[in-house]
Symmetry: C2
Subunit: 191 residues, 2 copies
């Protein structure tokens, strides 16, 4: 049973990422997850909205772990920015420009239309900002600068994904990486 | 008749921006535009996809004009970054965090699922990058740096919109403005 629930969550994550919230029906999720339709309501009595909220939280935690594992390979903020944007570009190319932020499509869809799901995306972004800020502090930045750099990093990553996927080109990720490295150097020099 | 078509385009633009492509049906568009349902197929024989492609191009041109008008008030790249992110933050607050990039929600939805619409979003982003790069060149940056800064500006704006709308907070736009100003100063100093 736990396997079925995990399969529904993982499949929904993929479908929501590629087709959005409105574009993904429960029947499609059940079929793709090889789960009986009724099992969705068994595991998620609140239906599609509850399922999506759990997907957002699970995918959010998974992506935070993926990105922080990359950041933690770096010895400096500048190197971290280089590694992170290079890894994001590689992943985009490997997946034919499909695999980017797991929650951004949903986040834009629900921001003004579904308050419980907006709150779920806000929790994830808050968690990512804190995880990023902790790294920039570890690399020697004082708390306010660390928070600003973490938000700037997430801005740049999310925005570059929008442009790169539309353009089918990694140039936006390369530009984002170069500008974040410049911003990190400028902030270091200002200390 | 031209009024009806214009009303359908404007209404669709708003609905697509708030509810996404999959989340906006033609019946809802017709009702909101106070247009007979059949008039949509009269003006857009290709149906929803053709309508969406025209909306993406029209909204893309309109938003380029809006943003470049703000950039053109500035005497320097640094001032332009300050004005642009401040204006975007004001607009978000005024519209209860709804009114941001008119095509980003669609762009993420269609990137891997609808090739003609992905191409329409790519044309818009290409146009915006060129319009931005022309400004950075005018402010004294050589062509490669100007292009990188223009892409970085659009990355930061798009990404900050994702975070700011989810968080219902303008902090991401303020962080984006601060980091773009730092990147501009760093690029200027490097010359």
């Amino acid at each position: 049973m736990a396997d079925t629930k995990a399969r529904i969550l993982a499949t929904s994550g993929e479908l929501f990422q590629r087709h959005g919230y409105a574009g993904t029906g429960l029947k499609r999720i059940a079929a793709a997850a090889r789960a009986p339709f009724g099992s969705i309501y068994h595991f998620f009595p609140g239906g599609k909205q509850q399922l999506a909220a759990e997907v957002i939280r699970a995918e959010g935690a998974g992506y935070r772990d993926l990105v922080t594992a990359i950041l933690d390979q770096a010895g400096s903020a500048e190197q971290a920015m280089e590694l992170a944007f290079a890894a994001a570009a590689d992943r985009l190319v490997e997946t034919d420009f499909a695999d980017a932020c797991p929650i951004a499509t949903l986040a834009l869809e629900v921001a003004s239309t579904n308050e419980p799901l907006r709150e779920a995306t806000a929790e994830v972004f808050t968690d990512w900002i804190e995880a990023g800020a902790a790294r920039f502090q570890r690399w020697g930045f004082p708390a306010p600068a660390a928070r600003r750099l973490a938000i700037g990093f997430l801005n740049a990553l999310e925005g570059a994904f929008v442009l790169a996927r539309a353009l089918r080109d990694t140039e936006p990720l390369e530009a984002a990486g170069a500008l974040m490295r410049a911003a990190v150097r400028a902030q270091s020099a200002a200390r």
